[in-house]
């Protein structure tokens, strides 16, 4: 059934019509054309479809679109403000924490969320937080360093 939902998407209030069976991932990529959110399995295994819903990382392929009615959603497209990169984005560049880049948005958004979780963002904490997101290229080390370093500079 088609129904109308309201979301605050990357800071902008939007009303969109969604089918009950659409996932948030489908809504973002196919209907709203926000192609920065990637997908690698469509069943919750890879985590590269991660976005922030009400400032919590979720795998967008596991959430149905109608469920986000009334929620705030942040995707990678909404992270840089007025042309300037968020601290976590700068840190990823400095630490060479990306290679092919297909997983990058998910790690950046999760890192951005971690930075707001108060102190104690150490390697262990970061490794746990990103454990549900796969990267086949980097070996994770530079991603962990980028997030820990961004937290330290905060």
């Amino acid at each position: 059934m088609l129904r109308s939902i309201k979301v605050v998407l990357n800071g902008v209030e939007r009303t969109v019509d969604v089918e009950d069976h659409w996932t948030l991932l489908w809504l973002l990529r196919e209907k709203l054309k926000l192609k920065g959110t990637k997908h690698g399995c469509d069943r919750g295994d890879c985590g590269i479809c991660t976005v922030l819903v009400n400032n919590t990382p979720v795998k967008s392929c596991l959430v149905l679109a109608p469920e986000v009615n009334g929620a705030e959603i942040l995707t990678i497209e909404g992270l840089a403000k007025e042309g300037s990169l968020a601290p976590i984005q700068k840190s990823f560049i400095e630490h060479s924490a990306l290679q092919c880049g297909i997983c990058t948005a998910a790690f950046v958004l999760t890192g951005h969320w971690l930075l707001q979780q108060g102190d104690g963002v150490d390697r262990k904490r970061v490794a746990e937080a990103i454990d549900g997101i796969l990267c086949r290229c980097t070996g994770y080390r530079q991603i962990i360093e980028a997030i820990v370093d961004a937290a330290r500079k905060k």
């Binding site: 054309k33 192609k35 920065g36 959110t37 990637k38 690698g40 399995c41 469509d42 069943r43 295994d45 890879c46 590269i48 995707t75 990678i76 497209e77 992270l79 840089a80 990169l85 984005q89 990823f92 560049i93 400095e94 630490h95 060479s96 990306l98 290679q99 092919c100 880049g101 297909i102 997983c103 990058t104 948005a105 950046v108 970061v126 490794a127 746990e128 990103i130 454990d131 549900g132 997101i133 796969l134 990267c135 086949r136 290229c137 980097t138 070996g139 994770y140 080390r141 530079q142 991603i143 962990i144």
Partner: protein, 787 residues
């Protein structure tokens, strides 16, 4: 070394990746993000059988389903494709050769409609006896996977044996192996295995094809090698190359799986059936596992003869590769393992047979470090086993037999003086892991240390080449056009640094054009084999020098001095010794304009190329010749901790050393080292295709097929870069891409013996497999008996 400049400004610096910004903003374009007007979508119908005759395909219901534009079956495409052996159908014809082979393709307006219509397809099969083990495939009377093998066109480098399942037989003979065994004091024979594995690129294979009514073909694809796609398609379809355009944006991980040619011919032909509308195919993760190509499995048998004093005298080697259903690229894996067969050791007498064998498994292709990753598992385990038999330290044994410059490789090539040093790599990692100092078990968990070495040469045809353009803009900035693709390895950045260094132009003033388009990009054979930095790097150097020469031509006329007396630095051309007499780069690169309007010169476009020098096809009997553009060496040492109750292994410390000649960008080299090591650990400790008795894959998803996560990384990873420059490499560089993923898992297996005295010979060495070995040892029973 003195041969190379030390006053480098851009080369050797960890400059930020040129593709960072787009990727970090989420605006970098990948094939799956592309939407074209009128674009249609495809759903494949796959074979549920590993081997079966196709008796009938009923498509009528699907054709009438809503939104369906075309339905294609194998007989619609009566041609074969293949890089080295032309053996592959676009869709299965007459019979299916693996469970997962595409049999029917349904094209519809929307993806949902394509899925719905695909459900309506009925295929009648008559099951045939499948061949599910390479050793069975070699037995006389084994069912044939390819009855028509004798009819396939193939490159002269390969040797199929019609009437058998052998897609290619590589043989090598160096010295006299029987004599070598006679001169040996100890002879040790062992068998090793590894299963097929998936590349698991997080971006699945995605291609869009358009075959326009006027005969022009356009392709948008996640391919590592746009020019190879164009060439093979041209040969297969008989369409001239200038009518085919291949566009490749960023690629979400390739690792070899997107090399050669994959689903491009299919989407192109589907578009032809759909009247020229663009047709897209994006594999699901399950299809990526069972329908896309995989890394070939290996069965290896080694017989090594050594003197008591530790010199290896002879090695008899059998490598049998599980190519799966098609060997179009896979035959080169068997060849690569063949010419590198001994690992980085000098062996005077070698006899090797490396077979690439068809089975009814998913088809094999290139995978980062192919040939080498698999056989190094066998060789580097065997080195430890032989050392133990001799009562010799594994490090000492390796050093004693190290293949140093001046010694001959298995193919009879005398290793060049500037080839890099395996002994330095081994010594470096041994020293940093405190080799010889027994680690202490903590909390009942035994610890151990292990070492493994590696070498690699690019596997490519002798005539592979690369080209580059540097195109100046009016303001003195430049565009660097490449043929090599950016699959995450960082080629764009490293090549921009090389251009910057040659031109004295800051990296920020060079835009690497972030896509490849065969209409406008310069040629590069393939983005494979760790050849990019070396070959495309040389091409970029030549292009930069060509541009510089053109700039000096113009400047010498304007400044009225000879070209030899001009210097280009800091975006200015000036007279040597007279820095005040000069011109800004921007005044020259589009032609110099005099105040009265006269012009000298014109737009500067530099062009460069590099072709591999002096490589040869190998002798079909003895395998002797020159296969290698360069040899690159490395070694890893690890300290591990094992939980005897669960079999879980923790890597406490990993030390890796590579002699890469020159690190053009140390941050990218580190990324390759970290990423490659984890990929090696992931393949070695976690991954493998598991099949049911009918040959259907049991774990085609990321829940059951695990790859390494953040919690799996070594606690500490020290990377040692050794820089013995390769004199013909760009700034001495050899490249690192694949090196980093070789032999890490073997070092871990070697450490497991040190820790708990178990000898592992089959990959993957999962916790369960290790636990079984621990139990078997305790109970003194064979591993298979542990339940």
């Amino acid at each position: 070394m003195k041969n190379f400049r030390e006053d480098l400004k851009y080369v050797g610096k960890p400059v930020p990746r040129v593709d960072s910004y787009e990727k970090i903003l989420g605006v970098a374009e990948y094939t799956g993000d592309i939407e074209l007007p009128g674009m249609l979508h495809t759903k494949l119908v796959l074979s549920p059988y590993a081997h079966a005759k196709i008796k009938a395909i009923h498509t009528e219901k699907a054709r009438k389903a809503s939104g369906v534009v075309a339905v294609a079956v194998g007989d619609d495409f009566p041609f074969r494709v293949g890089l080295y052996v032309n053996d592959r159908n676009v869709l299965a014809r007459k019979k299916v050769r693996w469970a997962g082979e595409p049999v029917v393709a349904v094209v519809a307006e929307t993806l949902e409609q394509a899925y719905e219509a695909a459900e309506l397809i009925e295929v009648e099969y008559e099951p045939l006896q499948p061949v599910l083990d390479v050793r069975d495939a070699l037995k006389p009377g084994a069912p044939l996977v390819h009855e028509e093998l004798g009819e396939y066109a193939h490159s002269p480098a390969f040797h199929p044996i019609p009437g058998t399942n052998i897609a290619s037989r590589f043989t090598l003979k160096k010295g006299d192996v029987e004599l070598g065994f006679k001169q040996s004091d100890v002879i040790l024979e062992n068998e090793f295995m590894m299963p097929q594995v998936s590349h698991v690129p997080l971006e699945t294979h995605t291609s869009i094809g358009q075959y326009m009514p006027d005969g022009k073909i356009k392709i948008w694809t996640s391919a590592q090698s746009p020019f190879t796609v164009r060439h093979i398609l041209s040969v297969s379809l008989g369409v001239p190359e200038h009518k085919i355009s291949v566009y490749v944006p960023y690629i979400g991980g390739g690792f070899g799986g997107k090399a050669g040619i994959n689903f491009e011919p299919l989407v192109v032909m589907l578009s032809k059936m759909a009247g020229g509308r663009p047709v897209k195919l994006e594999l699901t993760r399950e299809e990526q596992f069972i329908t896309a190509p995989v890394r070939q499995g290996l069965y290896a048998k080694l017989k090594t003869g050594v003197k008591r004093s530790g010199e290896i005298m002879a090695e008899k080697i059998l490598y049998v590769y599980d190519a799966g259903a098609y060997a179009d690229y896979g035959v080169n894996v068997g060849r690569a393992a063949g010419y590198s067969c001994t690992g980085p050791y000098y062996v005077p007498n070698v006899e090797t047979e490396s077979l690439t064998v068809y089975t009814n498994h998913p088809w094999g292709t290139a995978f980062r470090g192919f040939g080498h990753f698999e056989f190094l598992w066998a060789i580097e385990r065997q080195m430890d086993l032989v050392a133990r038999e001799l009562g010799m330290d594994p490090v000492e044994f390796r050093l004693k037999n190290a293949l140093l410059p001046g010694k001959t490789t298995p193919t009879g090539e005398v290793l060049r003086e500037d080839a890099g040093r395996i002994d330095e790599c081994i010594r470096a990692v041994a020293s940093r892991i405190d080799w010889g100092k027994k680690p202490v078990a903590a909390a009942g968990k035994p610890r151990g240390k292990g070492i493994a070495a590696l070498w690699k040469a690019p596997a490519m045809p002798p005539n592979a080449s690369s080209a580059a353009f540097i195109k100046f803009n009016e303001d003195g900035t430049a565009e660097l056009l490449l043929g090599i693709t950016e699959i995450g390895q960082g080629a764009e950045t490293a090549l921009a640094q090389i251009a910057a260094e040659e031109l004295g132009l800051p990296v920020e003033k060079i835009k690497v054009v972030p896509f490849r388009h065969t209409d406008v990009s310069p040629y590069s054979w393939q983005t494979v084999a760790s050849r990019g930095l070396f070959m495309d790097g040389r091409a970029v150097q030549m292009a930069a020098r060509d541009a510089k020469n053109q700039i000096f031509d113009i400047a010498s006329q304007v400044l009225r001095v000879s070209k030899e007396d001009l210097v280009l630095s800091d975006e200015r051309v000036h007279v040597r010794g007279r820095p005040e007499v000069g011109l800004e780069l921007r005044q020259l690169v589009n032609g110099y304009v005099y105040p009265n309007g006269n012009v000298v010169g014109g737009p500067v476009i530099g062009r460069g190329f590099y072709s591999a020098a002096r490589l040869t096809y190998l002798d079909p009997e003895t395998g002797q010749g020159y296969p290698a553009l360069k040899w690159t060496f490395g070694a890893h040492a690890v300290e591990v901790e094992v939980d005897p109750d669960t079999g879980m292994v923790k890597v406490l410390k990993l030390v890796s050393a590579f002699d890469i000649g020159k690190a053009i960008n140390p941050a990218i080299v580190l990324g390759q080292a970290y990423g490659g090591a984890l990929q090696s650990m992931s393949l070695g400790l976690l991954e493998g295709y598991f099949y049911d008795e009918k040959g259907r894959m049991l774990n085609p998803n990321l829940t059951d097929y695990k790859i390494a996560r953040a919690s799996d990384i070594p606690e500490e990873h020290e990377v040692i870069i050794i820089e013995n420059p390769q004199l013909d490499g760009p700034f001495g560089a050899r490249g690192i891409g694949e090196l980093s993923m070789l032999s890490v898992e073997t070092a871990i297996a070697n450490a497991l013996y040190d820790a708990i005295g178990i000898d592992l010979k089959n990959l993957p060495i999962t916790a369960e497999y290790i636990w079984k070995h621990i139990q078997a040892k305790k109970e003194k029973i064979p591993v298979e008996a542990v339940t």
